[in-house]
């Protein structure tokens, strides 16, 4: 039986980590919700964000967490041509065509990462990323708390954009029924393009955060894609606040799994939960029934 301090610390870290996972999953959720696209390159966009954070620090000396808005803009600027040239022409062709295109983008990016940055494992070395935070019997990594705070703020901002702005209204309309939205004068094409850019920007911010808190390399994306998918399904597709809740629940349950069965079972617990929710509450565990 693990010591009570270890147990509490692990669960606290799990919940905070869940917050970070929520930010990494947010972009995937938005894109899925509005475009019905499983963005198989989502993990590579995270990794791209992490590299952006690393080089941002190297070239400007500015802390990548302060530079998150800049990284988000850079990634959004990268996403727009990608959408215009690769995804938009396939808009009427069913989900597989876009999904495979994004898969192709993901393998191209992985290959380019190796060619440009070598296959080395990287980490954005920051002093605060290696400091513990102790409150009574609980010790958590300080960076988890910082990451959690940043995630919550970012998610609240995105939530505000989606729920309270004109763009958000169009976005929700396009997600619910693209054809109806188009007849009501919503420019669905632009909405989708901006949604995609927003999704990629969120992935970039999540990636920079991961870069500081953990480590990454050219092929790290795949694992984060799966984790993000689990968060999205738990929280419900396209549901911004649900994503946060999904992240927290996943983080807490994964750490419980790690605590009782061993750290190796973390991901296993996550995937089992993911499938269970898919099977019994496909609209997320928060959903009150099918819309």
């Amino acid at each position: 039986m693990p010591d009570i301090g270890v147990a509490l610390s692990t669960i606290a870290s799990g919940v905070l980590l869940g917050g970070i996972l929520a930010l990494t999953a947010l972009g995937l959720s938005i894109v899925l919700g509005v475009m019905r696209l499983v963005n198989l390159a989502h993990g590579e966009f995270l990794v791209l964000g992490a590299y952006a954070g690393l080089f941002f620090l190297q070239f400007t000396g500015v802390d990548p967490l302060l530079g998150l808005p800049v990284i988000a803009l850079l990634l959004a600027a990268f996403a727009i041509p990608l959408y215009r040239w690769l995804l938009q022409p396939l808009a009427d062709r069913g989900p597989e065509a876009q999904m495979m295109t994004m898969f192709a983008v993901s393998i191209i990016l992985q290959n380019l990462f190796v060619l440009a940055f070598s296959a080395d494992t990287r980490s954005i070395a920051r002093d605060y990323a290696a400091l513990p935070l102790t409150l009574g019997p609980i010790t958590v990594p300080l960076i988890y708390l910082i990451g959690f705070a940043i995630s919550v703020i970012a998610i609240l901002i995105v939530n505000w954009v989606v729920s309270s702005t004109a763009f958000g209204r169009d976005l929700r309309a396009s997600a619910a029924d693209a054809e109806a939205a188009a007849t009501m004068g919503v420019d669905v094409k632009s909405v989708r393009m901006l949604t995609f850019a927003l999704g990629v920007a969120c992935a970039g911010m999540g990636g920079a955060l991961i870069g500081a808190a953990f480590q990454f390399g050219p092929s790290s994306g795949g694992a984060y894609l799966l984790n993000s998918l689990a968060v999205v399904v738990l929280g419900g597709l396209g549901n911004v606040l649900g994503t946060l809740a999904g992240g927290l629940v996943l983080g807490a349950l994964q750490s419980l799994g790690g605590l009782t069965l061993g750290d190796g079972y973390r991901d296993l617990v996550g995937m089992a939960l993911f499938l269970a929710v898919l099977a019994f509450r496909p609209d997320g565990f928060l959903a009150r029934g099918r819309p």
Binding site: S9, A119, G217, P218
Partner: protein, 394 residues
């Protein structure tokens, strides 16, 4: 509908046969499948360099004399994407399409074994490094495959020997963390508990985790609460970086920290900065070793690639030299003869003396390295040492 597809089929087959490379009669073709992409791409790039260098040197010297005629060596390298299925497929293609006379290995037991099993079945010699000997021997009794690398028991005991020998004092409580890969299970699951007992340690924790695990908070928390002052870890580089960072972020610093495998490449120290200081790792090669060409090899690598060198350039370079020497000694491209010549290998290479035993393995001696200020220093044995042990871990 059937007709257009036939055209298409014919075109595809024509395109495929176009790709068939014509082997020149006056060339000795050898091949290798390496992880040039995917998680192990880092290792693959070092190995590629080592293999190519050995072949280039032989070609510059006029090639190898086969049947009384000097012939150039052609090395064909294929990428296996860190996927054993691809290693097997690549090895098959090297044998059946490119008609290689012999091959060099990939990296890590999973990949090396996948290719080696194909070579074994096709009766083509394959020389490899990068596959720890116990993991290699556990697969089968090899006839055509030869492995030059360290032996897990040596690696597993080197750090505790070093710590005891250098007189570093701890509370003798030890935590063992290892991944569940083939070498991790051998080292962490079987050898370490025994070695620790031999040296008088109390094993307070023995934790296993999947190779690609990313969260270690509960493992670290437990070791901290049990006050282990010595921690031995067996993990690949991404996990090694994660573990070191999460240890710091949990406020846990043992006095002795050894991270096998993962702490070995320079990227470990680059990713961690100051946190790498004091981490011990077993090594089988360092440019300071007193073997012919050791210092030059590292220098050549660094000036050519502008990257920091790794011990993987040495075992791959040596493996290729052993194979090329074998072909030269056989004086033939007959696989049977080359294999017989490989069995007689007995010479000092850049990694030290190489002589295969009845299990087809050649053991490399292991030293204890420690990261200090972004560089590794040999701290043990005393005969090879280039610096003093930093104790305890800062």
């Amino acid at each position: 509908m059937r007709h257009p597809t036939k055209t298409c089929l014919a075109a595809a087959i024509a395109a495929a046969s176009f790709g068939l490379s014509q082997a020149h009669a006056d060339e000795i073709v050898i091949g290798a499948s390496l992880p040039l992409s995917g998680p192990l791409a880092g290792f693959g790039s070092f190995q590629q360099w080592g293999y190519k260098r050995a072949v280039d040197e032989v070609n510059k010297a006029g090639g190898i004399s086969v049947g009384g005629k000097k012939e150039m060596v052609k090395l064909i390298i294929r990428d296996d994407k860190t996927d054993p299925n691809a290693t097997a497929a690549n090895t098959e293609t090297l044998i059946s399409r490119d008609h290689v006379v012999a091959m060099l290995g990939s990296c890590t037991p999973a990949l090396v074994n996948a290719g080696a099993l194909v070579a074994e079945r096709a009766k083509k010699p394959l020389v490899t490094g990068c596959d720890p000997l116990e993991a290699f021997k556990s697969v089968r009794k090899w006839k055509w495959v030869w492995d030059i690398f360290f032996d897990e028991p040596d690696l597993a005991s080197v750090e505790l020997k070093a710590v005891a020998d250098l007189g570093a004092k701890t509370n003798m409580k030890i935590a063992l963390w290892h991944d569940n890969g083939p070498d991790g299970q051998v080292v962490g699951g079987q050898i370490w508990p025994n070695v620790a007992k031999q040296f008088g340690y109390e094993v307070v924790q023995n934790a296993e985790f999947p190779v690609d695990n990313t969260q270690f908070t509960s493992i670290i928390g437990e070791a901290k609460s049990k006050e282990a002052e010595v921690v031995l870890v067996d993990a690949i580089t991404p996990q090694a970086v994660a573990i070191r960072k999460q240890m710091a972020a949990s406020g846990y610093t043992p006095k002795v920290l050894n991270i096998e495998k993962g702490a070995e490449p320079v990227q470990f120290a680059e990713a961690l900065g100051k946190l790498a200081d004091g981490v011990l790792v077993g090594g089988y090669w360092d440019p300071s070793f007193p073997y012919p060409g050791a210092a030059d090899l590292a220098k050549a690598f660094e000036s050519e690639t502008k990257l920091s060198s790794s011990q993987h350039i040495a075992d791959s370079y040596a493996a290729a030299q052993v194979l090329l020497d074998g072909i030269a000694a056989a004086g033939s491209t007959d696989p049977e003869k080359i294999n017989a010549a490989l069995a007689k290998t007995d010479k000092t290479y850049v990694v030290g003396p190489v002589k295969f035993d009845e299990n087809h393995t050649a053991k490399l001696p292991v030293v204890s390295l420690q990261w200090q200020g972004g560089k590794t220093v040999v701290v043990w044995p005393k005969s090879a040492k280039t610096g003093d042990l930093l104790f305890p871990v800062p």
